[in-house]
């Protein structure tokens, strides 16, 4: 029973794309890629964010989507933000050669995952998807970590035109991977699940649900009796396949299942 809320000062706040920003904090986090924190913008809201920079001056990378993230985007260097966590189960890196598929909002945990994998000597192929070249995040960072990068954009402004899953699928046809990792929209995860099931490839993916407590008591992040905050956010293929709700429904703030 240790209080995990810490009030941290913003060390750096920078734009990644017009709608995506990264905040680094003047503090350390001891976490694994895929774990997340609850971010409290005092007076506004508290919401879950994956950790995008581990260790010293740890950080989060987020898209501005609503009031909470908009308020967060105004935090200046030295301002104070509340952080609870790290929470959840992160990715476990197994095998010698892995494929990471990342797209859109799910990109945040990708970079630390790639960094941790290459540091372990694992060969990493990264499929990075975005709407357009202007919205690509962490391309240089992942390249610098030693990953082989394959870009896809919906509008074809960079790399292959189309969805990340298409590109990933063709890579899987060409090369053998020990494991596949997916971070991104739920329909992308579902598509990757199908591909991996067919190919008999181990897979892990990070899933999002409404989070209130973050610590496994409120049931708001429930997914077929499992909890994204404590059992996830990373689940493996076996678990993903069992979820009847994945890609179909999620709980709203009242606890009703609603379509995704």
């Amino acid at each position: 029973m240790t209080p995990s809320l810490r009030m941290l000062r913003v060390a750096e706040h920078r734009n990644e794309t017009p709608w995506t920003k990264t905040i680094r904090f003047k503090d350390t986090v001891d976490a694994r890629p895929g774990q997340f924190v609850m971010v409290w913008v005092p007076g506004v809201d508290e919401f879950p964010m994956s950790i995008s920079y581990m260790g010293d001056r740890f950080g989060i990378t987020y898209q501005i989507v609503g009031d909470g993230t908009k308020a967060l985007s105004k935090a200046a260097e030295g301002d104070i933000v509340g952080i609870r966590g790290p929470f959840g189960r992160g990715f476990s890196i197994t095998g010698k050669r892995i494929l990471v598929v990342a797209g859109g909002a799910g990109i945040a945990p990708t970079a630390p995952l790639v960094e941790a994998a290459t540091k372990k000597g694992v060969a990493v192929r990264l499929v990075l998807g975005a709407k357009s070249s202007a919205e690509l995040v962490f391309e240089n960072r992942c390249a610098a970590a030693g990953a082989e990068i394959h870009v896809s954009t919906d509008d074809g402004s960079k790399g292959q035109k189309g969805f990340a899953t298409g590109l990933a699928s063709s890579l899987i046809e060409k090369e053998r991977y020990d494991s596949v990792y997916a971070c991104g929209p739920e329909r992308m995860i579902v598509a990757m699940t199908d591909i991996c099931r067919k190919k008999g490839l181990p897979m892990q993916a990070s899933v999002e649900r409404i989070m209130k407590c973050g610590i496994g008591v409120c049931d708001s992040c429930a997914l077929d009796g499992k909890h994204v905050c404590t059992d996830g956010p990373v689940f493996d293929l076996e678990e993903l396949e069992k979820f009847s709700e994945l890609g179909k429904t999620r709980l709203d703030r009242t606890g009703r299942k609603t379509g995704i």
């Binding site: 029973m1 409290w40 508290e46 496994g216 077929d224």
Partner: protein
């Protein structure tokens, strides 16, 4: 064991509001060892609950202001049915802003198949609900009576410790026809961030649960046991068998566990039951009943 005619595999239950908003989760917790589950408190219409932050982790427990989020009884009836289909004993916790509303939701909860209905008269942080209608003996009695008339299954009244006399509330519940009382709900509390110079919870006020409140809960159960004839269900800060035994010896026939699910996971129910069995073996008790209220016999 038997509680107001309910068959329980063991004397532990999942407390209301913790991992019990969806059928699948409740079934998981029952499989992990809970003798019964109490549902999230459900009202007539859906509620989103309070904005985040809605929990503060403390070194002595948990402060929460979930604000009674729930999908409404109509929707939730399906969840109750789904739990029942798995053979789990389920107690439906209900809220309402008036005696009629409470009674109506209680009736719908019973119709859905709940084995018992628990009136939440004690949530300390939701406007117009919980404590606000359960803080005087007159209200408690009236509200219990109205609900009792509408249901055939046992009626539990969950009481607030934020009062100068919980035994008066318990007596009122008994007069109103409640078949058991549940004590205690959370203590009204607050945590402030000096750095942010504001209360941490979006709702400012919340309910304190966990180890911090165990001595208060044990005292409440002890007092209630002296005041009423109906069974008492003890809750507040239980995370080990020894904690449960304090409540049982104070007078609780069964116990509920909430916050310890955070600290110890759903395995906590089995672990508590194992502890209790070991204790009974060592101290020569053959059934839990022989320990209920035992701390009243020997006056120190």
């Amino acid at each position: 064991m038997d509680l107001c005619g309910l068959r329980l595999r063991n004397p532990t239950m999942l407390a209301s509001g913790v991992l019990d908003e969806t059928a699948a989760t409740m079934v998981e917790v029952a499989r992990a060892g809970a003798g019964a589950v109490v549902t999230k408190s459900v009202g007539r219409s859906p509620r989103e609950g309070h904005a985040n932050p809605c929990v503060v982790e403390l070194d002595v427990g948990l402060l929460n202001a979930m604000g009674l989020p729930n999908p409404g009884i109509e929707y939730f009836s399906e969840e109750v049915k789904a739990v029942k289909r798995e053979g789990v004993t389920v107690i439906g916790s209900v809220i309402g802003g008036s005696e009629d509303e409470l009674a109506e939701v209680a009736a719908l909860m019973a119709d859905a198949g709940a084995d018992a209905v628990e009136l939440n008269l004690s949530c300390p942080h939701a406007k117009g609900l919980g404590t606000e209608i359960g803080s005087t003996p007159e209200n408690v009695e009236r509200v219990c009576r109205a609900s009792k008339e509408r249901i055939k299954v046992p009626l539990f009244a969950k009481l607030t410790p934020n009062t100068s006399s919980i035994s008066n509330l318990a007596k009122a519940a008994e007069m109103g026809g409640a078949d058991a009382v549940v004590a205690i709900n959370t203590l009204k509390g607050m945590a402030i961030s000096p750095e942010a110079r504001m209360p941490i919870l979006a709702n400012r006020f919340g309910g304190l649960s966990g180890p911090a409140i165990r001595p208060i809960g044990v005292r409440c159960v002890y007092e209630i046991h002296d005041a009423v004839e109906i069974p008492v269900i003890g809750v507040g800060g239980i995370s080990t068998g020894r904690d449960a035994l304090e409540y049982i010896m104070a007078g609780a026939t069964a116990v509920q566990v909430g916050t310890a699910v955070w600290t110890r996971g759903p395995g906590v129910f089995k672990s508590i039951c194992d502890d209790i069995s070991r204790f009974m073996d060592e101290y020569g008790y053959s059934k839990v009943d022989d320990m209920v209220g035992a701390a009243h016999d020997t006056k120190p």
